[in-house]
Amino acid sequence: MTEPPHEILSLEGVSKVYRSGEFGVTALDKATLHIHGGEIVAVMGPSGSGKTTLLTVAGALLRPTEGTVRICGIDVTHLDESRLAAVRRQKVGFVYQSFNLLEALTAIENVRVVVQNGSHNGRAQAMSRAVDLLHMFGLSHRLNSLPKRMSDGEKQRVAIARALAKDPDLILADEPTANLDAKRGQEVMHLLQQKAQELHKAVVVVSHDNRIRQFAHRVLWLEDGRLRDHG
């Protein structure tokens, strides 16, 4: 008998209001979302709809104004900075639109530095895990390349390898195909889907790109801070 997939991310009535003096802008309005391991959820919507806010709240980077956020059962809503950092370190991996690799570090170092952070892995162990991950993403020939020497597709694959480096339960991807051509975008999404399912990770992909739909189990629509099912 297979175990029921456990809940990785839970948002209950989450709102986020940005205040400036007397005025407030509601970026997220009572959003509710539950995601389980192995599930890929695409969140789509127009610019300024609150997608990035949703991602940063879900990633324990931003505290909600209202509601509850749980990551792997941990209520992160009221945690202090150091505990939030610990949750991010252990449970969350990020994939960014502009890759966000550290420019002075080679591919293997970009992954290794994340593996080593907060873990008891020694340098050799971290190195070995970084090599395995990059190998998994077909980057064995790029281990010692600096980001500036890599194509955008390669950079995004390194970024995904980095997101998986600390073996997080939750992967949050912000427009991961926005800076890639159609072919590279498809490749990257296919890879993300494949690895997320193999490794049983929960994935939230925020995007404008309609082609993302085909890789998602669920598609949600976000507009004016309100989240709803989109078939």
Binding site: T52, L62, A85, R88, R89, F94, Q97, N100, L102, N117
Partner: protein, 375 residues
């Protein structure tokens, strides 16, 4: 060293060069000025310190050897001899003046601190004669300091003029360099004749005691005898002489040292700060990935401290290389490097590095990881 710190620091070689160069320049400036100050301190007090006298009898108000406006009566010698504490008394005539070599043009002169001493007592004469066989010098003869000989090309056999009178160089001694002037020795008789000095006046009386612990007793006795003269301890006289010469330089030196220190902090601080601002997005990424503020502070501090260490190594190396060369080229450039100063400069460099990291660290604390999702 943390991987991120090492890579960030060494991937920008020009920036690192500027940063290390700034610290190195500062260390070099601090090092060379301190070495110069130590060198001068050692040099200018040397003669007075090494004259083996327990005390100097000087005119009331005279504090040091170089501003030798002291006049004591020759009768003081016998008076001192009559006291039970005194072992020996040796009069000195000291006069600062300018002289020239016979073969040089009239405007090519140099400073001399002429010392006339009693050759029968030897006290106050040349500390060590390096060249020439005649010590004490004979009538109308002079022994010059080695530094004076080097700077002005004075050789044994040269005649040195003041006005229409001359003295013949018969020896070269060492230990009498006051940086801006040097001592030269003649006998008391020659000094009286050469300077048209009154027969009954001397500049100082050097005094040795049977029991040096009785110095205060003798000093009180001297004060009781006369209000025109006082007995000063040899060590105090040497220190006052040193202070007279270096006291005016010291405040300037301190200002330059502070400026050098600020330059070091500014260059290192600015380069590290701009590097931090430039990498602010990357630090935001690390924060998003769960790296804590202390880790990021460590990245900045390590970069700053390594910059400081490299700057110190280059600056100290420059000081060691340049100092002897400068000393050979400019005779007044007397340097002496003390290990305590090297340790002090290392400490100052560390302080520089810590200060330089302070503002970038504050900047880093304020980086919001959410910003990495923008653009």
């Amino acid at each position: 060293m943390l991987l991120v710190a090492r890579k960030n620091l060494f991937s920008e070689k020009i920036r690192l060069g500027i940063s290390v160069g700034g610290v190195a320049l500062s260390v070099f400036l601090i090092g060379i000025l301190l070495a110069l100050f130590r060198g001068w301190s050692q040099q200018v007090g040397s003669y007075v310190e090494r004259v083996p006298a327990d005390g100097w009898l000087v005119s009331e108000g005279t504090t040091d050897f170089v501003a030798a406006a002291s006049v004591v009566p020759v009768s003081a010698e016998s008076l001192l001899h009559s006291t039970p504490e005194v072992e020996s008394v040796s009069p000195l005539i000291v006069r600062p003046m300018v002289m020239r070599r016979e073969q040089d043009p009239f405007d090519k002169t140099f400073d001399v601190q002429l010392v006339g001493y009693d050759p029968t007592k030897r006290l106050g004469g040349p500390l060590a004669v390096e060249e020439g066989s005649k010590s004490p010098p004979g009538p109308d003869e002079i022994i010059v300091d080695k530094e004076m000989s080097k700077r002005h090309g004075i050789q044994i056999g040269d005649r040195l003029f003041r006005g229409g009178k001359s003295l013949t160089v018969v020896g070269i001694s060492r230990g009498g360099d006051f940086v801006y002037t040097q001592v030269a020795f003649v006998t008391l008789e020659t000094a009286i004749k050469f300077l048209d000095q009154p027969q009954d006046k001397r500049t100082f009386m050097l005094v040795t005691l049977k029991d040096p612990s009785k110095f205060d007793t003798l000093a009180v006795r001297v004060s009781a005898y006369t209000s025109d003269a006082q007995l000063v301890r040899g060590a105090d006289f040497a220190n006052e002489t040193r202070d007279r010469i270096l006291g005016n330089i010291l405040p300037i030196l301190i200002v330059v040292l502070v400026v050098a220190f600020i330059v070091g902090i500014s260059v290192a601080g600015l380069t590290i700060y701009t590097a931090t601002v430039e990498k602010q997005r990357e630090y935001g990424i690390l924060k998003a990935e769960g790296f804590t503020n202390p880790f990021l502070y460590r990245v900045v501090f390590e970069q700053s401290v390594v910059t400081g260490i490299l700057g110190f190594a280059v600056g100290a190396g420059m000081t060691v290389l340049v100092a002897p060369f400068a000393q050979d080229t400019v005779p007044q450039f007397v340097v002496f490097v003390r290990w305590q100063d090297v340790v002090g400069i290392a400490g100052a460099t560390l302080l520089m590095a810590l200060f330089a990291a302070w503002i970038p660290v504050r900047r880093m604390a304020s980086i919001d990881p959410v910003t990495v999702f923008k653009g």
